[in-house]
């Protein structure tokens, strides 16, 4: 969500950048950061004239396209499974299709599918079950056109629950396959 204020701040940032000053100090809290004035040293290079507004478009809102954050926020990096099942559920298919589209748009990205299980199974069985889940997702992505060479799989069994609780809700959250980006995403 973007407000006029943040756009305004972004514009001001663009002006500051054009003044060849470091952005890093103000990038974190643009709303409250006044544009610093250049130090009044005569040796300082003259700031470039501010670019016309229409030539300095605001960066698009949210994560940078092609970044890991973009993938996590705008696509989704996790799909869920039924108990003791590794079938890709129908409600997971649109998300995996979107993952595939995104991955085809950014072909440098390498990924690792991590299979996870709830705690209602024993460790060794769950390692095997998590591997099945990871491979189900891998196969789905490959069927959507993502080259298999870009995908590795691992099972964490029940070792990496994302929900620390116990009970049906936690179990449902913890039965998942996580698409982790290993390399190749743009840095935000």
């Amino acid at each position: 969500m973007v407000t006029n204020r943040t756009v305004g701040a972004a514009l001001r940032l663009a002006l500051v950048a054009a003044a060849a000053l470091s952005m890093s100090a103000c990038a974190t809290k643009p709303k409250y950061q006044p544009a610093p004035t250049p130090a009044p040293t005569p040796e300082a290079p003259r700031p470039a004239p501010p670019a016309p507004v229409e030539q300095a478009p605001a960066p698009p809102p949210g994560p940078m396209a092609g970044s890991e954050q973009d993938f996590v926020v705008n696509v989704g990096d996790r799909v869920y499974f039924d108990y003791d099942s590794y079938a890709v559920r129908s409600d997971a298919q649109p998300l995996l299709a979107a993952q595939a589209q995104w991955l085809k748009r950014y072909p440098a990205v390498q990924l690792r599918i991590e299979g996870n299980c709830d705690e209602r199974g024993t460790q060794e069985y769950n390692l095997a079950l998590g591997a099945r889940r990871a491979n189900s997702v891998r196969d789905y992505l490959v069927s959507q056109g993502v080259p298999a060479s870009r995908i590795s799989t691992v099972s964490f069994g029940k070792e990496k629950p994302i929900d620390a609780g116990s009970g049906d809700d936690a179990d449902q959250h913890n039965r998942n396959a996580h698409t982790a980006i290993v390399s190749g995403a743009r840095m935000r």
């Binding site: 003791d84 024993t122 460790q123 069985y125 390692l127 591997a131 099945r132 691992v154 070792e159 620390a164």
Partner: protein, 437 residues
């Protein structure tokens, strides 16, 4: 005198001398008192274990012996406050009437001396009502190993009274857990069977799972899990040498030694399918034992090495199967309602222990090796991973409550004696060593 080298690593190297003292030794006749280890309704045998002569170490040794015997569930140490005869002299017969009066059926008397820097412990086991000495021994060790001396004496008493080998001079390898769920540190750790002397064997950079002891040496095998995949390691506790089983182009897990310690059976996962392999540790040749498109995991050899019990969901849910050690003739073992996992063949060959899920609960159970006489020993929100004591009388396992930490527990094979292990921290995946030498 027979000198036995300990199999403790590094700092704990000791020479433990154990001999039957001439003159003290009773004929190794059967005790007239006897503990029946097979009955679930057995009353624990009242045994008096007064402090050994020789100062604090004598009292400390007796404390360890008494705790060992009590935890076995087969003995009930008599309250020392009730003792009538004080300051027993090991060279003399006890006043049996004094011990009969407090209904101690067995009595251990002992004395500790330090000779030439060595701890020398003499002890005798008495049948109070038969007024007879059952055992007389002398154990020698360096003073810092007084706990092992106590465990040796515990084993001698247990064996004399039950007719079966003890399991007190042993260690337990396990996974020590710390940190919040989802971000747990799981380190390989080891301790004495009574929870004393715990120490870490890995640094916590990988998630350690399923350590298992060789039944013939001080070697363990375990699995280390990292985001990049898993590795099965062999780790020699005496030398500290650690080596990978190798690269199998897929995840590897669920390792377990063959009874002769020459092979390791384990699972390899490729393309989502897990199958059982076995590797000869001498030539590192691996053979595939199953090729079913189902989950095949948790292999455990029969003690004669001829068969393997394992877990498979080839019928649609996880059940137990037995096949030849070469993978031949797999047949289903479990047909009752419930999900069966983590089978472990008992050291005697008579039983198979397992984890069972039914009715929303997890159970540790045992059945005969032919699948009959299933006996459920425990029940809780999450019990899993039984591991046999070397004499096949006690099982260790992990127990976790909803949202809680995993703890180490033990249960005897009758299900009568269920208790947490004397280890205060969070832990999982306990595995028992063979008796130390």
């Amino acid at each position: 005198m027979k000198i036995l080298r300990s199999h403790f690593p590094r700092a704990l190297v000791l020479a433990l001398a154990c001999l039957l003292t001439v003159g003290l030794a009773a004929a190794p006749a059967r005790a007239e008192i006897e503990v029946n280890v097979n009955r679930g309704d057995v009353q624990p045998l009242p045994i008096a274990v007064p402090a050994f002569g020789g100062g604090q170490v004598g009292a400390d040794i007796v404390g360890v012996i008494s705790a060992n015997l009590q935890r076995s569930g087969l003995f009930r140490p008599v309250d020392p406050a009730s003792f009538i005869e004080k300051d027993l002299n090991t060279a003399l017969q006890p006043r049996f009437a004094d011990w009969k009066q407090i209904n101690a059926q067995a009595l251990i008397s002992g004395n500790v001396t330090v000779v030439g820097g060595q701890l020398k412990v003499q002890f005798r086991l008495w049948d109070v009502f038969a007024e007879k000495q059952l055992l007389g021994q002398e154990v020698t060790s360096s003073p810092e190993n007084w706990r092992r001396v106590a465990h040796k004496i515990s084993d001698a008493v247990y064996e004399q009274l039950t007719g079966e080998k003890g399991y007190f001079d042993t260690r337990v390898v396990f996974v020590a857990e710390s940190g919040a769920r989802g971000a747990k540190t799981k380190r390989l750790a080891i301790m004495d069977q009574d929870g004393a002397n715990p120490s870490y064997l890995t640094d916590g950079s990988a998630i350690i799972m399923t350590p298992r002891f060789s039944s013939t040496s001080q070697q363990i095998t375990y699995m280390a899990l990292k985001p990049e995949g898993s590795v099965i390691y062999l780790f020699n506790l005496e030398t500290g040498r650690r080596e990978s089983l190798g690269d199998f182009k897929g995840m590897v897990f669920a390792p377990r030694f063959s009874p002769d310690g020459d092979k390791v059976a384990f699972s390899v996962e490729r393309g989502g399918n897990s199958d059982i392999f076995v590797m000869d540790l001498h030539n590192h040749a691996a053979a595939r034992l199953t090729s079913d498109p189902s989950i095949d995991t948790s292999p455990s050899f029969s003690p004669d090495g001829s068969k393997i019990v394992f877990n498979s969901d080839r019928s649609g849910s996880p059940q137990l199967y037995i096949m030849g050690a070469d993978g031949s003739n797999p047949r289903r073992l479990t047909f009752q309602a419930g999900r069966y996992t983590t089978p472990v063949w008992s050291p005697t060959g008579e039983f198979i222990a397992f984890t069972k899920q039914t009715g929303g609960q997890f159970h540790i159970g045992v059945m005969r090796a032919d699948g009959t006489d299933e006996r459920i020993l425990t029940s809780s929100y999450l019990d899993e991973g039984p591991a046999w004591a070397p004499n096949g009388r006690v099982l260790l396992f992990s127990r976790q409550g909803p949202g809680g930490a995993s703890k180490l527990w033990s249960v005897d094979v009758t299900g009568r004696v269920l208790q947490p292990m004397a280890y205060p921290g969070a832990g999982s995946d306990p595995a028992w060593s063979p008796l130390l030498n």
